[in-house]
Symmetry: C2
Subunit: 309 residues, 2 copies
C-alpha cells in the first residue's frame, strides 16, 4: 500500500506553493521565514521539480513581495509568483470595469494602468488597517448605488497568521459587503479554479502532475482539488487541528503532512469543500506539537526516495 | 372589499413603532425628525391606541435615546422603549456570560452592572466608527480562541439611513465574524421573535391586536409577522422601492403604505422572509416620489375613519 501510495508521486513534475504560512509568517517588519523552508525551496529546485508560488498576497506588489522573500533567503523570481492583483487587472480590462479600490496602500501601484474614474465596480483586497468603518461604508455606498453591483474580491480567506497572532482576512469583509448589498462577490485568487489554472499554465505542468502545498484547507487544498490537482496541507501557518478535525479529515499521527487527495485511494478523506462536519475522523489528529512544515517535503518526493525499496 | 379590509383595523389596540427612519433620520448632531411624525405620535396617543417604540438602536442608552427624541418634539418616555441592550443584559445574566463589548461608546453604560472580566462571549452592536480593523480583529481573536464561541449581535440590520446617506449596520459586521469564526450569531433585537414578544408584553396587547410600523422589510415587517402581528412598511428612512420589488410585493400605487399581511386576504403578498425573487409583482410599485411616512397613519386608523361608509 505504501508502494502504491508512492506511485502517483513519481509522476509529479511541478509544485505550487502557498507562501504565507508555508514559507514565512507575515507580521511587523515583513515577517519571519519558517525554519527550514528556504533550504526546502533550494532542495526542491535542485531535484528538478518546477516551482510556482501561488499566493493570495494582496498587501504588496508582486515585485516588492518577491524582494521581501529574496531578502529572507528564498531563491524565487517575480515570474514565479501567481498573485490575485495581476489576475484582477486582466479581468477589469477584459470587461471594461473601472474599480473603486479598497486595498492595502502597498497594492495600489498594481492598478496604476487601470482607469479608476467614475467607478462601476469595487475591488476588495486584504486592506488590513485600511478596513476602517468610513472606508467600508464608502465601498458599500458605491455598490448599493449601482444598478448591478459588481464586487470583486482578491481572495476569500477567513484569517491568516502573523507573527503576533491571527488576523482577519479579506473574506470576512467580502461577506460583510455581500450581506449589506445582497450581492455575491466574484473571487479572483485562490480557491477560484481559473486562478489555479493560470498558476498551472505559468508552471507549465498539467494538474495531474502537480501538487499544491498550503496551510489553508479550503483555499489551498480544496481549491487545488477542484482543479484536478493533489494537495498537501502543512501544519505551519494558520493550521489548526480542530478545524481539520471539524472537516472530517483523518490521518495517521506519524505522518508529517495533512494530505488530502481526491484521486488517490491511499490518501485521506475527500474534498474538504464537500466534507461535512458529520463525517467524524476515524483516527484522531496528532496533538498540536506535530507542526511539520515545508522543511519536511523532500521525505515524500521521489527524487530522494523513489529508488528506495 | 375595502370594508372587509378595514375590519381587522377596528380590532387594533396597540402599535409598535420602529424609530430610525420612521420618527427621525439619524445623523450628525443627533439627526432630524421626519416631517409630520411628532404630530402623528400625538394623534395616535390621542386616539387611545397604546404605543411602544420597538427599536434596534444601539448607539445610545435608552435614557439618552429618549431624551433626544423628546428634544425633537416626540411625546415618549423611557418605559415606552424596547431596545436590544437591556434584553442582552437579561440574557447575559441568565446564562452567566461575561461579554467582550464591541459597541458604540455611548452604549457602554447599559452594561455597567455586567461582569466583563475574562470574557466568554462577544457582544456586537452598531459600533460605527468603533468598527476599526483592530477592534474587529480583537473580537475575532477572542471568539476563535474560545472552545465554543458565543457571538451575540444586537440586531442584524444591513444598513440604515442617516441624514448624509446610508450607513452599514451591525449585521454586516456580524456576518464578517460569523464567516471568520464559522459560528452563528445569536440575534438580540429585531427580527428575533423573543424581542417582539417582549415589546408586546410591555405594550400589554396580544399580537393579533397590534401593528408593527417600520421601514425595514425584513427586520420590522418580517420579524413582526413571524410573531403573528400585522405590519406596515413606511416609505421613509431606508425604504427603497427596488428592494420591495425584489421581494415580490405588490400594492396599489395610490396606497400610502407598503402593507404586508399574513392574516388578511385583502392586504398584499405574504411574508417577505418567505417570498422569493421569482414572485414578480402583479402591479408595479409607485415611483420614488411616493414617500409616505408615519404622518399618513391616521388615514388608516378606525378612530378617524371607522364610521365612514
Amino acid at each position: 500500500m505504501a508502494e502504491r501510495g508512492r506511485g502517483w508521486a513519481r509522476a509529479v513534475r511541478g509544485l505550487l506553493l502557498d507562501v504565507s504560512g508555508v514559507l514565512y509568517d507575515s507580521g511587523a517588519g515583513g515577517g519571519v521565514p519558517i525554519a527550514g523552508s528556504a533550504e526546502a525551496v533550494r532542495r526542491i529546485k535542485a531535484s528538478g521539480l518546477k516551482l510556482q508560488l501561488c499566493t493570495n498576497e494582496t498587501q504588496a506588489t508582486r515585485e516588492n513581495f518577491v524582494r521581501k522573500l529574496q531578502a529572507m533567503g528564498f531563491d524565487v523570481s517575480a515570474a514565479q509568483v501567481t498573485a490575485p492583483a495581476p489576475a484582477a487587472c486582466r479581468l477589469l480590462r477584459e470587461r471594461g470595469l473601472r474599480p473603486h479600490l479598497l486595498v492595502h496602500d502597498d497594492l495600489v501601484p498594481e492598478f496604476a494602468e487601470i482607469n479608476k474614474t467614475n467607478p462601476n465596480c469595487v475591488v476588495l483586497g486584504d486592506a488590513a488597517e485600511n478596513f476602517t468603518y468610513a472606508n467600508l461604508n464608502e465601498a458599500f455606498r458605491l455598490l448599493i448605488g449601482m444598478e448591478k453591483p459588481v464586487l470583486i474580491s482578491l481572495g476569500k480567506g477567513r484569517y491568516y497568521k502573523e507573527t503576533d497572532g491571527l488576523k482577519l482576512d479579506v473574506g470576512a469583509y467580502m461577506k460583510a459587503l455581500e450581506y449589506a448589498c445582497d450581492v455575491q462577490a466574484e473571487v479572483v485568487g485562490k480557491p477560484a479554479k481559473t486562478f489555479f489554472e493560470s498558476a498551472l499554465a505559468e508552471l507549465g505542468v498539467p494538474p495531474e502532475q502537480a501538487i499544491m502545498i498550503g496551510d489553508d484547507i479550503v483555499n489551498d487544498v480544496g481549491g487545488a482539488q477542484q482543479c484536478g490537482m493533489r494537495a498537501l496541507q502543512v501544519r505551519t501557518g494558520k493550521y489548526r487541528s480542530s478545524l481539520t478535525a471539524f472537516l472530517g479529515l483523518c490521518l495517521p499521527a506519524s505522518f508529517p503532512w495533512t494530505s488530502v487527495g481526491s484521486q488517490d485511494q491511499h490518501t485521506w478523506r475527500g474534498n474538504p469543500l464537500k466534507t461535512s462536519a458529520a463525517a467524524s475522523p476515524t483516527a484522531p489528529l496528532a496533538p498540536a506539537e506535530h507542526h511539520f512544515g515545508l522543511a519536511a517535503f523532500p521525505s515524500l518526493h521521489p527524487a530522494s526516495h523513489g529508488n528506495k525499496p
